[in-house]
């Protein structure tokens, strides 16, 4: 079942001119700095790496079903208590790298896909699809078909990005919220 139509074309416009994403041969790249500016404007971000114990990793795995270990070395914090976290999940063939901005109240400020290198399923990088995560908290199910809309032909990527956002929110609750 690998040959379903790719659906709509590359979502360059949806990413916004300010981000100036580069997409060539099925690749979408947004730098960390670009995503930070898009989410937080001129607000200063300070690196805030964390090291998770094995028990904490297990909590995140149970909360999100993402089995790959969470890398805590790509986390930034703003003076107002907001967070910017870069993470990656398994895509159909490659990893999908994404960033989650979290407001001081623990809700999702914005999600941005930084790197997507599959041959179809670009809708996961469109703000039209990613906007459904805005305002979600760790209490949200974030399940495909329940409170997250599926993308035909890109179910795996859509599910894994949703699981990834869930994991970042779980990491916020577990280790970032109290800092």
């Amino acid at each position: 079942m690998q040959w379903f139509p790719a659906g709509s074309a590359l979502p360059l416009a949806a990413l916004g001119a300010a981000l100036a994403p580069v997409a060539a041969q099925a690749r979408i790249y947004v730098s960390v700095e670009q995503a930070q500016r898009e989410m937080f404007g001129a607000l200063a971000l300070t690196p805030h790496p964390v090291a998770l114990t094995a028990a904490q990793q297990e909590v995140l795995r149970a909360a999100s079903s993402v089995s790959l270990p969470f890398q805590g070395n790509r986390i930034w914090k703003t003076a107002d208590g907001s967070w910017f976290v870069v993470d990656e999940v398994v895509g159909k063939h490659e990893f999908v790298t994404y960033a989650v901005g979290i407001n001081a109240d623990g809700s999702v400020r914005r999600v941005e896909v930084l790197e997507y290198r599959e041959s179809y399923g670009y809708e996961v990088a469109e703000q039209k699809w990613l906007a459904q995560f805005v305002g979600k908290t760790v209490e949200a199910p974030l399940q495909l078909g329940r409170d997250v809309q599926n993308i035909g032909g890109a179910t795996l990527s859509a599910k894994h990005v949703a699981d990834g956002v869930k994991r970042v929110l779980a990491a916020y609750r577990l280790v970032l919220q109290a800092r």
């Binding site: 690998q2 040959w3 379903f4 790719a6 099925a26 398994v90 063939h93 490659e94 990893f95 290198r117």
Partner: protein, 251 residues
């Protein structure tokens, strides 16, 4: 590619070109153009088939060629159609279930194949366990002297594949194969077991899968041992099956 039988040489190769299209998220259709080549020489040991041993026989080889030394034939065989209905998606369900049907019209044989497709994914969908339960009715017609041969087969295909690096997966697959006389499994005639490794590579717009299944053993039943010797089943089978699939995304 089916390769090697009891002795001598046997190469039974199928070359299939397919175009697939998804009509919806859960239903796809396909069409194949099938070609073939056969090369056999002194590959059978069974004295039920051969007046003298070894002789030339096997699927695609007419009875008149048994004592004639080398037999070669190649060309366009025919066409197939395919339809797959996905009932559940293994990414979002514990078990993905699909139904598959494939009719074939060919010079060598006509067939009608049905499959129940099962798949479960684990470890962020990097580990895939899959099984296909297959039944097929076959109308063999490659040997005009012997007329039409009506067969049916039931197979269990199973395998596991692990994505060990971006774009790369590898694993193993097996085939528990049974052949029967008649379209309705009237008489069980053969069973054979195959197992071997597979490897898969996916680029952005194309992919390649290679697999090798080795026949670890087989038996004949129903009073006929014509296609068995040395603990293996021959007919359309060999000691080794090698499969190479290349796909390209058109849209």
């Amino acid at each position: 590619m089916t390769h090697r039988q009891a002795v001598g040489r046997y190469d039974w190769n199928q070359y299939r070109t397919e175009i697939e299209y998804g009509l919806s998220d859960d239903f796809q259709i396909g069409a194949y153009l099938n070609a073939f080549s056969i090369r056999a020489q002194d590959n059978y040991l069974s004295d039920e088939v051969c007046a003298t041993t070894p002789c030339t026989a096997g699927f695609g080889v007419p009875g008149t060629a048994s004592s004639g030394g080398a037999y070669r034939r190649s060309g366009i065989d025919g066409a197939s159609l395919e339809a797959i209905w996905r009932i559940s998606n293994p990414v979002t369900s514990p078990v993905g279930v699909g139904l598959y049907v494939e009719p074939t019209w060919g010079k060598l044989e006509d067939s009608l194949e049905f499959r129940l497709l099962l798949q479960s994914n684990f470890l962020d969908d990097r580990l895939v366990l899959a099984a296909n339960a297959l039944v097929e009715m076959e109308r063999e017609k490659y040997d005009p002297a012997n007329g039409i041969i009506r067969n049916s087969m039931a197979d269990l295909l199973y395998g596991a594949s692990y994505r060990f690096a971006p774009r790369w997966s590898a694993g193993f697959e097996g085939r528990l194969h049974t052949d029967h006389d008649g379209y309705r499994f009237e008489q069980h005639t053969q069973t054979a077991n195959f197992i071997g490794p597979n490897v898969h590579y996916s680029a952005e717009r194309w992919w390649l899968t290679a697999a090798w299944r080795h026949q670890v053993g087989g038996s004949c039943y129903g009073g006929g041992t014509a296609d068995c010797s040395l603990g293996h089943v021959w007919d359309s089978h060999g000691r080794d099956q090698i499969m190479l699939k290349v796909g390209y995304l058109l849209n």
